[in-house]
Amino acid sequence: MGAKTLYDKLWESHIVRENDDGTSLLYIDRQLIHEVTSPQAFEGLRMANRKPWKLSANLATPDHNVPTSHREQGIVDPIAKLQVDTLDQNCDLFNITEFKMDDIRQGIVHVISPEQGATLPGMTLVCGDSHTSTHGAFGTLAFGIGTSEVEHVLATQCLIQKKSKNMLVQVDGQLNPGITAKDVILAIIGKIGTAGGTGYAIEFAGEAIRSFSMEGRMTLSNMAIEAGARAGMIAVDDTTIKYVKNRPYAPQAEVWDKAVIYWQGFHSDTDAHFDKVVSLDATEIKHQVTWGTSPEMTMAIDETIPDPAKEADLVKSSGMQAALDYMGLTAGTPINEVAVDVVFIGSCTNSRIEDMRAAANIAKGNKVASNIKQALVVPGSGLIKQQAEQEGLDQIFIDAGFEWRDPGCSMCLAMNADRLESGERCASTSNRNFEGRQGQGGRTHLVSPAMAAAAAIKGHFVNSNELGSQ
């Protein structure tokens, strides 16, 4: 066969059988479960009188619907409460490990699994959530699935899949000070478009990618789906292995040594063939802010809002105008003059300890601007919350006028009480700026944690390098 890509290796090592029609039965090592996309899957199992194939492969936690304040009062919304209770009951009934709402290990599925070492290099991992691509940061084949497939994996530990094509996104050179993984992935999506990766598995590579910590790599892989790719991944290296070591679910002692040797093979061979290659120059990437209602509608902080009249493609031009109308923006306005109402720091994209530190670095000694109605900081897990508090970050946020919350998906998709009112403009570290995503009529601008914190302090978008210590 010759040289293989990282994706080829992950795929081939999980084939149970190949069917005549080009599909494969693929073995799934790990499934993460949350309350929103699992109740109908468990119901299906019960109706067909089927049992989970391999209990230990599953790990569950409630995240989408959980309140991020006053947890002691439980969930007030009766429909949301029923969904979380249903998850608890299903996990108890089928004997699946679950970190319940009062467990310090509870948090966003894509944050807690790596934190626990439940995400390991070389494995296949799925979840009924599109941001499952996050786990690709570990040299893992990880992708989002629908509820029927959640049931399929529970019952068979397998999925019927067709292999995607290989895409390489190469980011060479050194990033400028203050430029984060969030800026890099937004710049990538801006370049290839939200459907640019459809049908592909993306591997991120190059000097700039290598320089990221695991937290940064997770931010990057997390948003592969916003470029249309179900899976995004990064080769295993020392950074990966160091991160995984000694985590609760990671192998220990002599099994660890064996695992490390196995994992070190999960990188693309030098001459591996990619169906598509995209290159970016790291030195040219600036602080990003999205201006529209699709993650590809992104711009640098020193630019002005683009003009639909200058777009030759009519479908694109009308899409841009519709986005500007929804966002309440005028072409030609410098983005750093646009005022913000709400700031949200959190989500499976940016709620890890590094994100908390980056935002705190900007907030330290400053005050949230008077025009900001609400500035939320929502850590990704109970353990991250605890660590941030040990580092005194919670106090920095509170002193500056931010609210320090309990872990969950929160205002990223506004399924719980944290949401925008119609017309409110939000600087958000989440992953989707779709219409109504953070609340009906809400206007979302995607940014990095430092940029969100800077917007909170100044009351409008601003280059975060102008605040905080570098």
Binding site: T23, V36, G146, S148, E149, T198
Partner: protein, 214 residues
């Protein structure tokens, strides 16, 4: 799952690119623990003028008369014409559940987001990819001819005009396994469990190679 063979129905043109699953079924309706009942909230934010919440009586809500779904000429439509990258965003299977519950059985677009495309087949919904020029032609025919109906034949993999005065016919491509499952209304889990021995054999080999996963 309901079998899919052939349908003849009115086509409804939804002229927007990148229609995401948040737009197809907004997040507040994802709190349901059931698979059915999402139809009245399909495209909720575009379809109604007020803010929708689960448990509301949708029959009394003010309709956005400018939204295509509310136009009288498209009532009873079962074929949705869409643009590029339909179904992008969240993996929620509630999106195909809502489309199916409303009454759609076919979606025609130049391209679909991967997860959504995959989810459709599990729910008796047929997503068809056609070249952009052909989709454009269908948009034009639908807009110009009130009551324009298409026939979609899965066994023959053919779409034809069901109006005598209009000539239109095109073939479409489809993965044969998916076609088979839709035609027969097959339970994929049952099919996979027929290979239970293969799965066990794979596991016993992997236990040697990656013992930490077992």
């Amino acid at each position: 799952m309901e079998k899919f063979t052939k349908i003849t129905a009115i086509a409804m043109p939804l002229d927007r690119v990148n229609v995401d699953t948040d737009a197809i079924i907004p997040k507040q309706f994802l709190k349901s623990i059931h698979k059915s009942g999402f139809g009245p909230n399909l495209f909720d934010e575009w379809r109604y003028l007020d803010q929708g919440e689960p448990g509301m009586d949708n029959t009394n809500r003010p309709l956005n008369q400018n939204f295509i779904l509310n136009k009288s000429r498209y009532q009873g439509s079962q074929i949705l014409l869409a643009r590029d990258n339909f179904g992008c965003g969240s993996s929620r299977e509630h999106a195909p559940w809502a489309l199916e519950d409303y009454g759609f059985r076919v979606i025609i677009a130049p391209s679909f987001a991967d997860i959504f495309y995959n989810n459709c087949f599990k729910n008796g919904l047929l997503p068809i990819i056609l070249a952009e020029e052909i989709v454009d032609q269908l948009f034009n025919l639908t807009v110009a001819n009130e009551g324009f109906q298409l026939s979609v034949d899965l066994a023959e993999q053919k779409i034809t005009s069901a109006m005598e005065s209009i000539t239109f016919s095109t073939d479409f491509e489809l993965d044969q396994f998916r076609r088979h499952c839709l035609l027969e209304g097959l339970d994929e889990i049952g099919l996979t469990l027929e290979h239970a021995d293969d799965i066990r054999a794979y596991e016993s080999i992997q236990k040697e190679i990656t013992p930490w996963l077992f």
